[in-house]
């Protein structure tokens, strides 16, 4: 009911106003195009460190004694994001706290699958744990490698974690191999994103207005990626459609068509029916830089997330901030990678965030 949502807007600031203000302040620290321009001119990581000092990152990189490497930059940026996020999370009240928890679940799923594949390759847990995303850290993480089947994984290890509800469709007795782990990831993700979508819908108001398109896009992106990646595997159409999240714009007709798709042209034909995805699959204009499908999706995601900041009194800004900040980390790491490998020609392939701001 509109009355209900406007009443919610009225009282939004009582519980969440502080954090919204905080996150908007943090958003102001997102690097601008001038910053990227300057970063791209750097010759060494030390130069980058010097430049980042003049941004909101401040002394983040200069406080360590070790020599700068790209992976150190990456982990520092990640730690920074985690600090910010845990600050938000520890001050959050329901339902924002649940919302923030939902953000972490996707990282948890990735961590679980990473640990499983690591265990399959006989890697030591101590070696794997530091590579897990700290946003998706949970107590039982180190024990994931014990499980042999998805059922065991669920009933023995993950039953106490927030991931448990997503296992509904994923339990099976087949032995976990790499393929099975990947399928498990997608099944969990499907359940997760559908649950997140309905959670946001239930919150209603501006949050639903902002978050649903973002999550629908996310769902569709996964659908496309699964389809493209499944070319040349023995995954049947039915198998595939079991992995497709059903909360996206592609549902139901697009999903049915994609499950049948056999090559890139067919995927493109499906995408052509949807104006927002047509752009992504369009052939690049001659003269423009070639961009991978992934990058094009990222670009679109950044655009969607930027929209979240145009409205007030909703939770979307928290999700968008985390995603934008992640993209920023990817950008910085990309530039750092280019700088260390002296690949100056590719340095501009990052995805700018808020290109209009200075």
């Amino acid at each position: 009911a509109p009355g209900f949502s406007s009443e919610k807007q009225l009282t939004f600031n009582v519980d969440h106003g502080y954090l919204e203000g905080l996150v908007r302040g943090m958003k102001a620290g997102i690097l601008t195009s001038t910053d990227y321009h300057n970063l791209a001119q750097c010759d060494t990581l030390e130069d980058m460190k010097l430049h980042l000092q003049s941004t909101d990152y401040g002394k983040l990189l200069s406080s360590s004694e070790e020599d700068l490497t790209v992976s150190l930059v990456d982990s520092k940026l990640r730690a920074n994001l985690v600090t910010e996020f845990s600050c938000l999370r520890s001050n959050a009240l329901p339902p924002l706290s649940t919302f923030l928890d939902y953000i972490t679940y996707s990282y948890m799923i990735d961590n679980v699958v990473m640990l499983i594949t690591g265990a399959l390759k006989q890697r030591d847990v101590a070696e794997l744990l530091p590579r897990c995303h700290p946003l998706g850290a949970f107590d039982q993480m180190a024990a994931v490698g014990i499980a042999r089947t998805p059922t065991e994984l669920y009933s023995a290890i993950l039953v106490d974690t927030p991931l448990a509800p997503f296992f509904q469709d994923a339990v099976s007795e087949s032995n976990l191999d790499e393929m099975e782990a990947e399928i498990l990831r997608n099944k969990l993700y499907k359940a997760y994103i559908e649950s997140f979508h309905s959670f946001c819908k239930n919150i209603g108001g501006v949050t639903a207005d902002i978050m649903c398109p973002v999550l629908e896009f996310e769902a569709d992106r996964r659908t496309f990626i699964i389809t493209v990646n499944s070319f040349g595997t023995e995954l049947s159409g039915a198998d595939k459609s079991a992995l497709y999240p059903s909360c996206g714009k592609l549902y139901p007709e697009g999903l049915r068509l994609l499950a049948k798709a056999e090559d890139h042209e067919q995927v493109k034909a499906v995408a052509n029916c949807y104006p927002e995805y047509k752009l992504i699959f369009d052939d690049p204009e001659p003269g423009a830089d070639f961009k991978t499908l992934e990058d094009r999706f990222f670009e679109q995601e950044v655009k969607l997330n930027m929209l979240a900041f145009l409205q007030q009194f909703h939770f979307g800004v928290f999700y968008s901030y985390v995603k934008l900040k992640e993209q920023e980390s990817r950008n910085i790491v990309w530039i750092a990678e280019c700088v260390t490998q002296r690949q100056k020609s590719k340095i501009h392939n990052y995805i700018p965030i808020f290109p209009g701001t200075h």
């Binding site: 010097l50 406080s63 847990v125 107590d139």
Partner: protein, 845 residues
């Protein structure tokens, strides 16, 4: 004084610094804090500048210093924060400091690592002892039960489920394994649950809490731990159990197979723990010694490194000339300080032993210089009030010197109470007397700092409040009868019945002997008893507010002439200032005249016939005064004249300036009147051209800067000018009305203050004073306490803040908008004293 009124005259100067002595010269300038450097390489990013490596080195040193400071703080050693001010170290000495720091860092790092290792070791051993001690109890418990029960009775789950016979049980029993260790108490439940789920009950977990708190090696916090013992069956389960133990970060220790072994281990552990304790103590002693030694010079180092970094930062702003022998810096500098600047450069060259001196060269510029107003500790507070509104444009009239008097005065008009003023003045005087006290000066309490920074303002406010309090004759809402009232009740000759039957009696000043003449200072104390006191005071204060407001605003308008004269815009004097002043004075100045006239013309005798000024004032605009008795002969004529003048000044104000400028701009071509003016322009352009040619010869990179700074020939847009003037006119004319009304806040706040203090007296103090028994004396103590607390908190602090705010508004809006632009840029000199002085502020800690 002229500096305070207009700000310092600034000039742009070029410093030619010999590359050998540049560092020392800049260090010298930093100590003095004379000049503001301009960036001559704005297009060069931070990491491409010349001295970026030196800055990195400084940052490295800062990092080490931060580490040292943290360690010193952790060890609880107080830092000797003395008033030392070491100069920036010479570049050749930097390496020595760097080496010293690095050595210290390595040494400290090693010792701390050792210490941590030892502590971890100790913790492990302690944990092991705890584990052995507690698991013994588990075993004893089992042993006690053993005779009563079958050996594998503890596995009821198994017995029910499997068909295994005893012999196979025995066989499995041979593989019975134990894992024991410690786990954090918060995790034990989840641990147990997972153990159960994964191993399906093929394990037995027994656990007991350790009574002591053990230090968590990662966080250093004391945590409660639990000792557990898992008995499991079979190797596969054992693997899983181990993994789960890893997952929950358990500290697993080998479980002794027999009692003798256990005793041996316990014995061995005890001696090792003792040894470790002694080693640990020694390490800690050594660490402390190293830290104490470091803490002695750490403060000096911090300042030195900060200064050095600042110098290199400035050097990065300079540009090189072609020969690379000489650095060129551009600075803004007060003209009066140029000799000091020369001397500083000489001093710097002398110190570095350079053969070629560094020198200063004034260069012409068309850029607007930054504003510098030199203040002292007394004027700085008032200057801050003005700057908070906007930093004055270059060489504009600065309202601060006038604010020194008007601000406390307007405040006091609202706050007028002798008693409150005395308290405030005494408090401020105490702060002024103790201003050199470090404890007061260096506190980090922001609220206190605000008061402390404004101590002179508060002092002035207090003193002025004493004065206005005397005028209002208000001291904690009571009046003082110092000179004896000018009224006599006796002269009225009231009888006893009259006294008893009337609650109100009226003193008539027309009866001889009742009114003996005005009270020498302020309001007569008899009004304190009068029931119509409020009516009397309201009328008085309202009129006073209007009078003060008109004077204040006229003063602001008059100050604008100083700007017009200084910026050589004489036409503004006739086309803006004059109509503005006429408009204000003809309408509101006349109102003031009427108020004063009424006060003077009507005495107690004919006060019944005193007219209402308001009606007269309204009639003045309506141009009709027929029904009323005129105040003085010729009133109607004068009023019509004034209104006509005021109305006529509006179109002059609106059109005068734009039309004149239009004529000046278009006419000057045709009439050739302003050739002299043009010549001046051309001269300065030639100068600029020469300057640029000179730059080009030198090949210096900042030629683009000087060309970008050059003003394009001013485009004159009549419509634009007219629009601006129209806005100004509307704002001014309406402002005169609304600003005058705004000054009535003086009356309103002073009324509120007086009433509040009276209410406080009546509601609190009078209650205490009414009790006339001996107990009343005792009762008076808490009552007075309450009265004092409320007086300070409400009447002094809250009312004071509100009066302050309103005084601020009257200055910012009503006064300053008459003449003050406030669009300047503050001069911020390169001065070491402006670097953050405490450790916390620069992120080292």
């Amino acid at each position: 004084m002229s500096s305070l009124l207009r700000g310092e005259e600034m000039c742009l100067a070029q410093l030619f610094l010999q590359s050998g002595s540049a560092y020392d010269c800049i260090s010298e300038l930093g100590e003095l804090g004379l000049v503001e450097f301009r960036d001559l390489n704005p297009s060069v990013t931070a990491f491409q500048r010349k001295h970026v490596n030196e800055i990195k080195k400084c940052e490295e040193m800062e990092r080490i210093l931060g580490y040292l400071l943290r360690e010193v703080k952790k060890a609880d050693i107080s830092l000797p924060e003395r008033d030392v001010n070491p100069v920036a170290p010479l570049p050749k000495h930097v390496m020595a400091i760097m080496e010293q720091l690095q050595r210290l860092e390595v040494e400290l790092g090693e010792v701390t690592r050792n210490k941590e290792k030892l502590q971890r070791n100790l913790l492990e051993l302690t944990e092991y002892t705890h584990m052995l001690r507690i698991t013994r109890k588990f075993v004893q418990r089992t042993a006690e039960r053993e005779p009563l029960q079958v050996q594998y009775e503890e596995f009821p789950f198994l017995e029910k489920e499997t068909m295994m016979d005893y012999s196979s049980m025995q066989r499995l029993g041979a593989k019975l394994g134990f894992i024991s260790g410690l786990i954090q108490r918060v995790k034990i439940e989840a641990f147990e649950r997972m153990l159960w789920r994964v191993c399906k009950g093929y394990t037995i977990l027994s656990y007991a809490e350790v009574e002591e708190y053990l230090e968590n090696p990662d966080t250093g916090e004391p945590t409660k731990c639990v000792v557990f013992l898992i008995s499991y069956w079979g190797d596969q389960i054992g693997q899983k159990v181990k993994k789960i133990c890893d997952c929950y970060h358990c500290h697993v220790y080998p479980y002794p197979s027999s009692n003798e072994e256990r005793n041996d281990v316990v014995e061995g552990l005890r001696t090792r723990i003792q040894d470790l304790h002694t080693v640990l103590n020694r390490t800690e002693d050594y660490l402390r010694q190293v830290l104490i030694k470091a803490s002695e010079s750490v403060y000096t180092w911090v300042i030195q490194v900060k200064k050095m970094k600042a110098i290199y930062y400035i050097l990065n702003l300079c540009s090189f000339d072609v020969t690379n022998k000489c650095l060129i810096a551009e600075v803004w500098c007060p003209v009066n300080d140029i000799p000091t600047l020369r001397r500083a450069l000489e001093e710097g060259s002398r110190k570095s032993g350079a053969t070629v001196p560094s020198f200063v060269n004034r260069i012409p510029t068309s850029d607007t210089p930054p504003t510098l107003i030199k203040t002292n500790k007394f004027t700085s507070g008032f200057q801050n009030i003005v700057d908070a509104y906007g930093v004055g444009s270059y060489r504009e009239v600065n309202p601060a010197p006038f604010t020194i008097i008007t601000f406390p005065f307007l405040f006091a008009v609202m706050f007028g109470d002798l008693g409150h003023g005395v308290i405030m003045a005494v408090f401020a005087a105490w702060m002024v007397l103790c201003e050199n006290n470090r404890k007061l000066k260096n506190t980090r309490n922001e609220i206190w700092n605000t008061f402390f920074e404004g101590r002179y303002i508060i002092l002035m406010m207090g003193l002025f409040s004493i004065y206005t309090g005397l005028i209002y004759n208000d001291c904690f809402s009571k009046s003082l009868n110092i000179f004896g009232s000018g009224w006599s009740v006796k002269a009225m000759g009231w009888t006893k019945e009259q006294w008893e039957n009337n609650r109100f009696l009226t003193l008539d000043p027309n009866v001889t002997g009742v009114f003996k003449g005005p009270y020498p200072l302020g309001i007569d104390p008899i009004w304190n008893l009068a029931s119509n006191r409020l009516t009397f005071l309201n009328s008085y204060k309202m009129k006073m507010s209007v009078i003060l407001g008109i004077i204040h605003m006229s003063f602001g308008v008059i100050l604008s002439t100083y700007n017009y004269l200084h910026f050589r815009k004489k036409y503004n004097l006739y086309l803006v200032f004059l109509p503005e002043l006429l408009f204000l004075l003809c309408l509101f100045g006349y109102l003031v005249f009427m108020i004063l006239y009424k006060w003077l013309a009507f005495s107690a005798k004919d006060s019944r016939h005193a007219p209402s000024i308001l009606i007269h004032f309204i009639n003045m605009f309506l141009m009709q005064g027929d029904g009323l008795q005129p105040l003085y002969p010729g009133q109607t004529g004068l009023q019509i004249f004034l209104v006509v003048i005021a109305v006529l000044s509006v179109p002059v104000l609106l059109l005068g300036k734009p039309v004149y400028l239009y004529w000046l701009h278009n006419g000057s071509h045709r009439l050739g009147l302003y050739r002299g003016y043009e010549r001046v322009r051309r001269n300065s352009e030639e100068e600029l051209y020469l300057m640029r040619a000179h730059d080009m010869e030198e090949g210096s990179s900042h030629s683009d800067l000087s060309s970008s700074g050059e003003n394009p020939t001013e485009e004159f847009d009549f419509a634009d000018e007219l629009l601006h003037q129209a806005i100004h006119t509307i704002e001014y004319c309406l402002g005169c009305v609304s600003n005058t009304a705004s000054y009535l806040r003086l009356w309103a706040l002073s009324l509120a203050h007086a009433q509040l203090s009276e209410v406080l007296w009546a509601m609190v103090m009078r209650v205490g004073l009414r009790m006339d028994s001996t107990l009343g004396v005792l009762f008076l103590v808490p009552v007075f306490g309450l009265f004092a607390v409320l007086t300070v908190s409400i009447l002094l602090v809250m009312e004071g803040l509100s009066a302050f705010l309103h005084a601020l508004r009257l200055h910012w809006v009503e006064f300053q908008n008459k003449f003050y632009g406030g669009t300047g840029v503050k001069f911020c000199p390169f001065a070491f004293s402006l670097l953050p002085s405490s450790f916390e502020h620069d992120g080292l800690l």
